[in-house]
């Protein structure tokens, strides 16, 4: 059966979502090392380019070492790592729910209650991410004791993910209503 324009677009989006989801999962183990590294250096790539030719090897070793170091001696870096992990897990959940919705579009029957549930889960994940960003901001303000952290991207994540969660909830209600209307239509003889 020839695919519609929407299904062709859904196929492209599905590919992109899978790639981003895979990268998301690959980046999760690197979080503690990245947090420890950025605490010491402004930019990984500047450090790699200015250090010896084995820069990439040493970056990998530092990441692996920091991973264990952060959790053997709990500190602020542990809290940052945990918050970033929560955000990373939530974005993975959001991407996976998006993939499930795209799968139903490709199958030709998107108006299902399962899609409403998937979008509801995505909304909750957005709100958890917003909450984690708020916790990070509050901790940061308490540590710095000045309003500088308010001018970072963390501040933008709070309302951004809050609104994204609201939009996902609206879409969830829309899909739930659409599924009910479809069921009524299907059972109209």
């Amino acid at each position: 059966m020839e695919k519609t324009a929407v299904q062709r677009l859904a196929r492209v989006l599905q590919g992109m979502v899978v790639v981003v989801f895979t990268l998301n999962l690959l980046c999760l183990p690197l979080v503690p090392g990245a947090v420890a590294f950025w605490q010491e250096h402004e930019s990984i790539w500047e450090w790699v380019s200015h250090e010896s030719g084995d820069g990439l090897f040493w970056v990998t070793m530092i990441f692996a070492g920091a991973f264990y170091g952060i959790f053997l001696e709990p500190s602020l870096l542990t809290a940052w790592s945990l918050l970033f992990w929560i955000c990373g897990a939530c974005t993975a959940v959001i991407l996976w729910q998006a993939k499930k919705v795209l799968d139903t579009i490709l199958a030709g029957s998107p108006f299902r209650t399962s899609n409403a549930r998937a979008l509801n889960r995505a909304a909750i994940s957005c709100w958890v991410t917003s909450g984690a960003a708020m916790v990070k901001l509050v901790l940061w303000l308490w540590i710095e004791k000045n309003p500088a952290p308010l001018c970072t991207y963390t501040t933008l994540f709070i309302p951004g993910f809050l609104m994204a969660g609201l939009l996902f909830q609206v879409m969830s209600a829309l899909f739930r209503q659409a599924a009910e209307l479809k069921e009524d239509q299907d059972l109209t003889i």
């Binding site: 069921e183 009524d184 059972l187 109209t188 003889i189």
Partner: protein
Amino acid sequence: MAIMVNLDVMMARRKISLGELAQKVDITMANLSILKNNKARAVRFSTLEAICKALDCQPGDILEFIPDGEEGAP
């Protein structure tokens, strides 16, 4: 459900099978089965007209209203 479809009673009286009726009414056996088993949410007038024509009956012969709470009572 408050509206009961007594299609099987009329089908037995007219001695017509589900397949024959589905063919006469021009709907699938699956849909006719949904209707017969009271799983349908709505019936189009065009379908009701075709069924009444095929079974030579009135809508009241195949549709019955049972108030809530009396379902299942004899």
